[in-house]
Amino acid sequence: MSELIFTPVIGIEIHIRLKTDTKIFCSCSTNTDVEPNTHVCPVCMGLPGSLPRLNHQVVEKGMLAGLALNCTVQPKSLFFRKSYFYPDLPKGHQISQCDLPIVAQGFIEVHDANGNLKKIRVNHLHLEEDVGSLHHSASDGRLEGAAISFVDYNRSGMPLAEIVSEPDVSSAKEAVEYVTTLRRRVIYSGASDVELEKGMMRFDANVSMKCSDGRWGRKVEVKNMNSFHALERAIEYEIKRQKKIMLSGGEILQETRHWNDAKGVTTASRVKEFYRKFIVEPDLPPLIIDQAWIDRVTSMMPEMPDVRAKRYVQDYKLPQEVADFLTDVKDLSDYFEACVKAGANPVRAAHWVRTEVLRVMNEKQIRKVADFGISPETLTNLIAKIDGGKLSTTQAKEVFDYMSANNCGIDEAVKACGISEGGVAGNMLEEIIKSVIAANPDVLDEIKSGRDTKGKKLKFLQGLVMKEVKGQAKPQEVSQTLEKILNA
């Protein structure tokens, strides 16, 4: 009997918070660094008599995010009421575009197990409001069994985009690449910063298994993954769990399971899913997006990372892997572009950004390039000084470190490092070279005898000279002067 082969069939739902100044249906601020229940109003508290009004910035961000996923903007979409009772849901229903979304039918490319590109189809992206956040006194942090629970409605009404994929994902690895690529593209579009540590991206996965003997397992919805790592582990766990059940001839229950990150397992949801029904939101008219609006937003659409990487290879002659590396994080790539725009040699700028800038950011634990003290213009100037022979590479690194540590300009850093630009030259250099030669007569003999065919001894003398001048001489001038003296 041949071995049974199991193929995972996975669909992924992603919630992303869109980047807007105000909430989706009211004018409360989306800033979260405030006391609980301070950024609230009658609308996002669902007070009797209040009415939602759609924030146009949310619509545009939704369109941008959709375009980043290669989706088509729908000329007419609708909002619905998604009913269920929960204390974090102030109206007892969530306003969501669930049935008629703003954008539909896109895709994201990932690599399959054989390294070939495959498309994960995006069914749609729809707009909806977030709910409040609950804080429970129970030890497991859940509502059931908690003696006291607190609700903070600051998050209520935050604009969300829910992105629903087709069940095209076949492994945890593909899932992670799908969400990583999707996140990168959404950040590039400007629709969201998708800061994972701020909970701006949450995942659910629908996992089922197809067996080579023709059996299909039922679909299991896995919830509560808040990081790429959690998503990967949860899917891997679920694939193993379902495979084991199917191998032993058992039945997979159609259910919702909760990912427990601390224990690394999924557990059947203790509460039965709330019964949900939808009616059209009567307080919001249909969202009509005309071609002019679509065109305007499309023209606002920034360059996507893959396009940008291609441009780096073609225009800047960067190797593909360097281009991919730089475009992975948008603000790093933006920093690099600013250097090139300021006149830096692209290859050298790419090298500096990848090595020195990232090194210092890591050392100082700076998360955003925007918080990095050295501007692209300053780095460009520094690179120009190397190219112009005014600083050696070693010197430039010293100056760079000093600038980032002391938040100062190039001139001040150069002075502080005890470097005189251009360094030791001319007569002064000649004298030093002569004294070095005088101190090493045996080396001189060897060179004169013609035995130094590989120029090793000459290099040795150059090294001694450089050491003597503390690196503050142009290597080219050192070797020229040295040769001149030797040949004299």
Binding site: P42, M45, G46, L47, P48, G49, S50, L51, P52, R53, L54, R81, S83, F85, Y86, P87, P90, K91, G92, H93, L143, E144, S149, V151, K277, F278, I279, V280, P282, D283, L284, P285
Partner: protein
């Protein structure tokens, strides 16, 4: 000289502006009148005398015709810091942190709030008896209902508490009590008056409108309230309509239609007499009486209305869970028990039955057959009305087939109930304006009829009302059970 409380809005405003009396004197007269009638009529849920007296300190500063004019609001309109109940136990002593847009407009114009008045719980009912605060009575005969759901607003104006008031109309809740109480009431075109701050029943059907004892006063209130409100996404965006009063308007050449399908319906004698009388007056005024046929509406509008109203209502009422405001319980074991106890105690039985109906109508296995089907029928209904208004300017019909019934009296005639619904509900489905106007008295009970216009024809509709009032006479103030 007549008592000040007998003055209509325009006359009271003129008197104030001419300095014939002060805002305090006007309020005192109205307040005294209200107090003498209230034990019989029971229109108030919350009296706001203290608030009113604070407001009066600032009266006389605005040039608005509303400055110093007392009014009452249906208790489903939010008033900042003042208890707002929707006549339900579930809202407890909730004091909204904000004003409904309509009250904001009136308050900023200097109108004085005398109180929040009774209604059927969450506007569900047509007697004003389905209230957690007891029944309001008809000021013309306190053994009879004032109508509903805006019964308190209608009774207060009819009895002379205030010259005008606001109510809301989801399926006749302004027009029917106006008719039972013998005053004028306008259900404006959907979208003409902001709903922000109106506690929702059926959001796509609800509309706020005024009650008054003259059509001119309705025009004055509409001139203030009919303006775009960014807080309400269904609020119109066109330029403000012109409700300027012209006492000399006429109806020459205007077409007024009767509905063909309604002609076989049974009407009590005073109503059918009034219909004939008004037709004659209209012809006299140069109008042309025609007929329109509304077959789809006659067949499907009532079922369509209930499916949509219940579906919207049950989702609008989902927010009452005891977590954030209103009635709550402290000792529930777990969130489920809390929700169950709050909602079981807080809602009255009529509200509960509509929540259950709405839940069933939108339940996934039935949703297509009922809710979705109703939304499609609604489009057909709006189209049928639109076609009808290509051939007529107004439709004339009763508001109800009978005069105000006795309190507790239940009409078992189902056919009559269906016909009653057909006079009022379709207007809300199509978002049309409907004017309930006074025609005269049958004994001591007033008789009202209804004139319906095309969408956004509210100014013309009120002009027609001016003509009718000129010919039929204005209502007298009801005795309020005291004289």
């Amino acid at each position: 000289m007549a008592e000040l409380y007998e003055l209509d809005l325009s006359s009271a405003s003129e008197g104030l502006k001419a300095g014939k009396f002060s805002p305090e004197e006007l309020f005192d007269s109205c307040w005294k009148r209200a107090q003498s009638c209230e034990k019989n009529i029971r229109a108030f849920i919350t009296e706001t005398e203290d608030f009113a007296r604070e407001q009066l300190k600032n009266s006389g500063k605005s040039s608005s015709i509303f400055d110093g004019i007392p009014t009452v609001l249906k208790d489903n309109l939010c008033t900042q810091g003042i208890r707002t109940t929707a006549a339900s136990k579930i809202l407890g002593n909730w004091r909204p942190p904000y004003d409904a847009t309509v009250w904001k407009l009136l308050r900023e114009s200097g109108a004085i709030l005398m109180g929040k008045v009774n209604m059927d719980e969450f506007a569900m009912g047509n007697t004003c008896g389905n209230s957690a605060f007891g029944a309001t009575r008809n000021p013309h005969d306190i053994s009879r209902v004032p109508g509903g759901s805006s019964g308190g607003s209608a009774a207060a104006v009819a009895a002379g508490y205030v010259p005008f008031s606001l109510g809301s109309d989801t399926g006749g809740s302004i027009r029917q009590p106006a008719s039972y109480c013998g005053i004028y009431g306008l259900k404006p075109t959907y979208g003409m008056v902001s709903r922000y701050g109106l506690i929702s029943y059926g959001s796509s059907l609800d509309q706020i409108g005024p009650f008054a004892r003259t059509v001119r006063d309705l025009q004055l209130v509409m001139q203030l309230l009919a303006q775009h409100d960014p807080m309400d996404s269904s609020s119109f965006r066109e330029k403000n309509p012109d409700f300027t009063h012209n006492p000399n308007v006429n109806l020459k050449g205007k077409r007024v239609a009767l509905v063909k399908e309604f002609q076989s319906f049974t009407l009590d004698a005073p109503i059918s007499d009034a219909m004939k009388h008004v037709e004659k007056i209209l012809e006299d005024e140069g109008a042309i009486i025609t007929e329109v046929s509304l077959p789809i509406i006659s067949k499907y509008a009532v079922a369509c209305y209930y499916a949509l109203a219940m579906s919207e209502a049950h989702t609008n009422l989902e927010r009452y869970d005891g977590v954030r405001y209103g009635y709550t319980v402290q000792d529930a074991k777990g969130i489920k028990e809390m929700f169950e106890r709050v909602r079981s105690y807080g809602f009255g039985s009529e509200v509960k039955s509509r929540i259950i109906a709405g839940t069933c109508l939108t339940e996934p296995s039935r949703c297509e057959e009922y809710y979705v089907a109703a939304t499609k029928v609604r489009t057909l209904i709006a189209q049928e009305f639109a076609r009808a208004f290509e051939n007529t300017d107004f439709i004339l019909q009763p508001v109800t087939p009978s005069l105000a019934p006795k309190i507790g009296e239940v009409d078992e005639d189902e056919m009559k109930g269906y016909e009653t619904d057909l006079y009022t509900l379709p207007v809300n489905l199509a978002g049309l304006p409907g004017l309930s106007f006074f025609t005269g008295y049958a004994g001591k009970l007033p008789v009202g009829l209804q004139l319906i216009g095309a969408r956004w024809s509210d100014p013309e509709l009120l002009n027609a009302g001016v003509v009718l009032e000129r010919r039929l006479g204005s209502p007298k103030i009801a005795d309020g059970g005291v004289e």
